[in-house]
Subunit: 141 residues, 2 copies
DNA sequence: ATCGGTGCAAATGATTTGCATAAGT
DNA sequence: ACTTATGCAAATCATTTGCACCGAT
């Protein structure tokens, strides 16, 4: 994977915790919390510390291997394979729907031309209500 | 202000901390952190507690007087006067540009029809890089 | 051998909560 | 009076940090 190469090029070391974290991020493909990553890493190497996971994720983010976005009170991490990657987070049931559509290009252009602002809209958590929860609410009303 | 009426209708009490918080949210008009609100309230009433501010903001949100959105590690609050309200947060210098354009209606329609998902895109923090920071970076490169 | 990487434990800092008291209505 | 609102202090909980040791190159 290109992440390994990227790290090597910069003289960064390929340690077991880093390998495990990259493996898992690649294997899962979607969004992950630091906690989930730690759980996985612990299955393979129980002595690896939580702070190592956080430090590694920060490193991977700086080197463009990982994107982060914030769900309610946590950070979500995922690898950089797709340009667009959205997480539709239902505020009622907590379900997350993954979405890869090119939704925001017009918004990006609009903000750039009107405000000179270059938004990063490629990886976001979008809050809302999913279909089934919306139906439940309509029945109740 | 309609917020006062809303509270009264529901049998909620108009206390001094609540008045101060509503005053400040209305006066400022833009986004606020809990800390800024607390500082203002303390100027007028030094004994008001931080937890009261949080509890009041939660109450106001539940009653539709206030919207919340998350900047990096804090919650931003603002009143519900405008339907659209975006905070363009520069990841370099921390500056926040306010924006009221109707940017996301097409995105909302698209997510509704393709995923059955009703996103809440009316009040968001949009991360990115502002014009001056982008220029600085181009000069450096 | 060097310097980056890690485990450990403790700190941080925003937000939440339990509880006894105070104050709107 | 009666219930809601508040102050206070302590708890939470994700994330960060200082430091001494470890291990990849």
């Amino acid at each position: 994977m290109s992440c390994f190469v990227t790290l090597k090029e910069k003289g960064l070391r390929l340690t077991r915790p880093r390998q495990l974290i990259l493996d898992y991020i690649h294997e899962r493909g979607d969004h992950l919390t630091a906690e989930e990553i730690l759980n996985y890493v612990h299955e393979k190497s129980p002595r690896v510390n939580k702070s190592t996971v956080y430090r590694t994720l920060e490193l991977l983010e700086k080197n463009g291997c990982v994107f982060t976005s914030r769900a309610n009170d946590r950070t979500l991490y995922h690898h950089t394979e797709h340009k667009h990657h959205y997480h539709l987070l239902c505020q009622r049931c907590g379900k997350i729907i993954e979405c890869q559509e090119d939704l925001f290009t017009p918004v990006e252009q609009s903000l750039a031309s009107q405000y000179g602002f270059s938004p990063d809209l490629d990886h976001m958590v979008i809050n809302g209500v999913c279909e089934s929860c919306r139906h439940k609410e309509m029945r109740r009303a």
